[in-house]
Structure formats: structure tokens, C-alpha cells
Assembly symmetry: D2
Homo-oligomer: 201 residues x 4
């Protein structure tokens, strides 16, 4: 039982990601055809590992099975949307909310309210319905929206978190925090320059 | 007006194809994970050219615009599903009919009732709803389901149809018809052998 | 040692396949740009499994290591080129022989001389040199060229070979042989019709 | 003549890009299998437009034909390699130089010596030999290597260059220059933190 729960849930989770990517691809081309800009630089996806899903269910005191994997874990399917500018982030968040078949479950703005370590990103969880030849299955998808610079910073921060035996950990954490603020300032400056170039008010 | 109708309709048509391919990809992986077979060998897609869409609208006495392109033309978006055996064709047709968000508009069985020239294939037209960040647009998709051998035959028949100045046209047409029947017999034989190998009744 | 040999050899084998696909993609586009036809319908690839490689090396009385995997096994990297017509098969075989950086090691024409069970296909083994940032490594690639119909037949024959407890095995083998000959006749007929349509002599 | 030169040259240029991407893909997987890091974040490619190639040839006083397109234009095929850290840029440049079938034609380090406007990037031009079923054709490929942050900056700078009627052009140029230096500082800081985390000297 525990052995097979992952094989099936992975397919549904990947299916939800496939549907989300299809949505983003269509809207991108549609806007381009109307000469509107779609402010997406690149998209990456992530599926929670078997080990990590089991651990999460057990930590919550839940049985490890397909139903719990699909209904109790919000971040099994992950889609990260990376864009150039901070205002792009908010534009994408609004756009996603307007889909009739995406139900917003959770939303957290770590850009306006960065985490203490300096982490910045816009998080959302949507519920979408997968149609498997007539069988309808609800699946959660976690969306993270951030700028290129925030994404780069967070990849380095991630390295630190998973490294053991780091010397001067506190000093490094301080330096990382300082870099995060520096990057946020540059992001704002670049956005200001873009607005000047394009005569946006 | 006439100039720009295609740019937008092409995006919606390609969007419908993207959604259909996503559906087929998900169901394929889902069935594989449950150790069920999905009897699809390969899938090809086709978008009607601008010229051909204009011609069709004019022939029907309709104005050339986006609305008519989307609501009056059934075969602007084409998806061809090719499978190994004749019974696979019917299994896929049934599966497609069970999707809640696919509305069957037309259906024609050219396998049970081949065209006079020998053409065999199963044709369906579905209406699907494209969600463009809240704006819902209905789009038609034409599905052709056939065996590998039918697909090969039809590619040669297609060559003949678009060739001018063929000598012995009648003789060739007769030969093609004879090959189509030969191929249909082989398809049945191969299916019988497969059933014998797998002890299917 | 035995445990790690596969991880590295798989990369070199996949690398050789990547290079071969790049070659075929370039020549295809090049010929299309010159309005020449490239007679390839589709290409599939295959990498020998770890188990199967170990077994083959042991059967040959050889040590299981990276060097032997690369220098003693001809079919670790497999590329199957499927085309519409029998004369396409020979055209592709000739084309592959003309590459200066592909060294022909083995060649077998199972179309002119089918196997007793009815199997038809054109087999070649090439040695190609992989350049890994200055380190040159020779890798073998096995090429199988066949028509669509031969490919379909062989997929069914393959099913039989790997099925246990088949009743009437002999009868099925006979039927398969008969189908193989029938398919070969249809392939020839289709080629004749194509030549008539295109006025080829 | 002038009309057709592009159709053929585009295929050779795209072919060279395909070969270069195959090389990078193979080396990436090879290094991963040996637990070595390949410091590439993403790769983008670019093919010079017909208009832009014609213009360049005419500006040089050369005839517009296939031969001149292939032998006189260095940047018809463009591959941009984007990496996380500045030292990654140099590691990739060295790696590319070690390929036996890539001949270095030109090299320019705009990171050590940024352009006056703040532009930073490492430029190389290689000559590679395309084997078209026995016909060997030399093609140039321009490589640009830069960090993610340099790539972002340069996309904004590019917008300005192609925009007409910008108010306060001088002020914007100054701001862009200041941002470029800020970004370069952040890149260095991030590299320092990475070295601290990984105990690199």
C-alpha cells in the first residue's frame, strides 16, 4: 500500500503541472498575438519526492496513502514562474486568479513582507480539477512567482540550508541577508529605468 | 480585418491542440501507472492554413473573421491519433467520449464504412472550452483515429490527390483501392495473432 | 566497480545517440532547404539496460567494466530509422556510409535475406568518436532501418518472443511468417504505386 | 540568387547551433555522472535574420551569397551560455577551448574590460566543421558567456538601444551604467558567499 501510493500520485501531480504549463503557454501566445506582453522569463517545475511526501504525512500524523497525498499536501506539485521585474510578479498573480477553473486556496506575499533571512517571493496554492476520461480528481498546485534576481539569491540560500558543517554560519547568513536587500534595491532601480525608457508613469 | 483574423484564431486553435495533447499525455501516464495499456502509437497535429480557412469561409458564403473561423469551421484544429490495431481505434473513441469537458459534435466511422476510394479512418469533432485567464472561448477540434497501416496508405493517396498530370490515373486509383483492402486484411490478421498471443477471446 | 560502470557508460551511449540524432536532423533540414526529400518517417532510440549489458559481458566471459561495455558491445546504443518505402531504406544506408566521421563496423541486409521467422530490417553498426572537451572516446551505435510495416510486424513478433505459456505457439509463428510475407508484398505494391504517381522509372 | 542564399545558409547555421548544443548536453551529463558540476544555468540561441545578414554583407562591400554569408559573418549563429557565478564564465570558456573540433577565431573579455556603457560578457567565435553526409562545410558560431545578472542587465540595455524618442536618454544611460556596476558588485559578493559556504579557498 505505502509502496504504491507514490506511483499513482506522481502521475496526478505531474498531470496538474502539465495542465498548468498548457494554460501558461496558451495565454502567452494569445497575448503575443494581441501585441500584449506576457512578463514570464522562464518556468521551472518540481515534484515532491516520495521520501519527502511520506515524511510530511507522518509528521502530520496521517496515513501514507494516495488520498492523503492529494488532499493534505499543498506543495506536492510546484511551478515556479520567474520574471524580470517586480511589477510583473503582481501582474501574473492577478492573471492566475482570474481563471475560472483555478481555485485559490492560499496566498502569501514574501516580497512586501520578506522572511527574516531575506527571502522574497510570491506564493500561491491553487486547486485544479484533473479530468481523467470522466473521472474528476482535485489536485493542488503550489505557484512561486519571483524575479530573476530573487531566484538566483534563493538558489544560493538553498545551498547553505542543505550544507552541513559550515564554518562562520552566522557571518554567512548576515552576508546573505545583506545581498538580498542589495538585490531588492537593484530590482527596483531596474524597474524604474524600464519605466523611464518606456515612458510608463 | 481579413488580414488579422488568422493571427488570433491560430493561437486559439493551437491552444485547443495543446489542451488535447495535455489530456492524452496525462491519461497515458495515468493508465501506465495502473498497468493499463494506452493503445496510442503516435500523435500528429495539423492547423488549417490561412488560405484554406479563407477559402472555406468564402465557399460557405460567410464573412472572413475570427468569430466565423471559430464557430463555422470544424477542422481548423486537427489531431490524428495513430494506433497499432483496429480495436484500439474504438477504445480511444470511447475514452474520448467520456471526458466531461469534451462535447461530441460529429462522428463518422469510415472503418466500418470505408470511402469508395478505400479510405479508412474514424472521425470525431469535439467542442472544448478554452479558459484564457477568465475569458471562456469554445473551440472545435477534429480527431482522426486510424491504424498505422491506414495512415501509411492515406499518405500515399494524399500524394495522388495533390499531383497534377498523372498518367494512368484510373489504373493507379484501382491499385490504391486494392492495396487499401489488402492492408485492411493484414490489420485484421495482425489483430487475430495478437489475441492468440495474449489469450484474449 | 561493477556497480558504477553503468552510470558512466550510459552517458557516453546517450551522447552517441544525441550526436547521431543531431546529424540526422541537420541533413534532413539541409535536404529540405534544397528541395530534396529525406525519406525518414520517424526515429526511435534505445539504450541497453544495465542488466542486459552485464549479462552480455558475462556470457562473453568478460569483466563487467566501462572499457568492455564500450569496446565489446555493439548494440548498447540503438537508433531505429523508420521510413515509408523499401527504396528509402537503401538510400538512408548509403547516406550514412558517406559520413567521414562514421566508421562502418558491421552491416547485414535482412530485407534481401529475411530471417526464417519473417523478420525484415537493415542493420548497421558504426563507430563514432565522442569529443568530451578534448577527451576523445570511441562509441558504437547500432542502426536499424526498416519500413513502417516491417516495424509494426516486428513489434508483434517481439511480444510473442517475450511471452511465456503461449498456446499454439507453432501455429502463431506460422501465421506471423505469413503476415510478414503479406506485408512485404504490400510494401512493394505501395512503392510501385508511388513510382507511378511520380513518374519515376 | 540573393533571394535563396538565406534559406540554405540558415540550415547550416542552425546545424552548427544543433551541434554545439549537443556538445554541451553531452558534457553536462558526463560531468554529472562523475559528480562534477557543470556551471550552466541556461542556454539561449539566436540566428541572424535575413535582413540583418544582407545589411552586414552590403556594409562590408560584399556580394550577398551563401559563401560570403558563411565565411565573412562571424555572428550569424549565436549561442548564449548563462551561468550563476563569474568564475563559472571562465571555466566554461576554458572547457570550450579544449575541444579538438572547435577552432578559436576570436576572443574578447568584456568582463575584465567592460564596455563604456557598463556591458559585461565573455565573447568567443569558434569555427566548427559540419559533416553533411560527406560534404564538409566550415561554419562560425559566436558564443557569449555571462552571469544571470549580466544577462538581465543587458536585456534592459538592449530595449533602450532599439527604442526611439526616449526622453532623458543621457540620464537613463547614466542610471544603467550605475546599475551595471551595482550588479557586478553583487555578483562578486554572491561568489564570495558561495566560496564561504563550500569552503573553497
Amino acid at each position: 500500500m505505502e509502496e504504491s501510493f507514490y506511483k499513482e500520485s506522481i502521475v496526478l501531480i505531474e498531470g496538474a503541472i502539465t495542465e498548468m504549463l498548457a494554460k501558461l503557454d496558451i495565454i502567452k501566445k494569445y497575448k503575443l498575438a494581441r501585441n500584449e506582453r506576457v512578463p514570464i522569463e522562464y518556468i521551472t517545475t518540481r515534484v515532491k519526492t516520495e521520501e519527502s511526501m511520506k515524511e510530511k504525512l507522518k509528521r502530520k500524523g496521517l496515513e501514507v496513502n494516495l488520498e492523503n497525498a492529494l488532499t493534505k499536501i499543498y506543495d506536492a506539485a510546484g511551478v515556479r514562474i520567474v520574471c524580470s521585474y517586480i511589477d510583473d510578479v503582481y501582474q501574473i498573480a492577478e492573471m492566475l486568479k482570474s481563471y475560472k477553473d483555478l481555485k485559490l486556496i492560499k496566498e502569501k506575499d514574501y516580497i512586501k513582507n520578506p522572511k527574516p533571512n531575506g527571502y522574497r517571493s510570491y506564493h500561491m496554492v491553487f486547486e485544479m480539477s484533473l479530468d481523467l476520461a470522466g473521472e474528476i480528481i482535485p489536485v493542488f498546485v503550489e505557484i512561486q512567482i519571483r524575479t530573476i534576481a530573487m531566484d538566483f539569491w534563493s538558489s544560493l540560500e538553498h545551498q547553505m540550508k542543505y550544507k552541513k558543517d559550515i564554518q562562520n554560519q552566522e557571518l554567512i547568513a548576515e552576508e546573505l541577508k545583506r545581498c538580498a536587500d542589495q538585490i531588492a534595491t537593484t530590482d527596483l532601480n531596474m524597474q524604474t529605468i524600464r519605466k523611464m525608457i518606456n515612458n510608463e508613469e
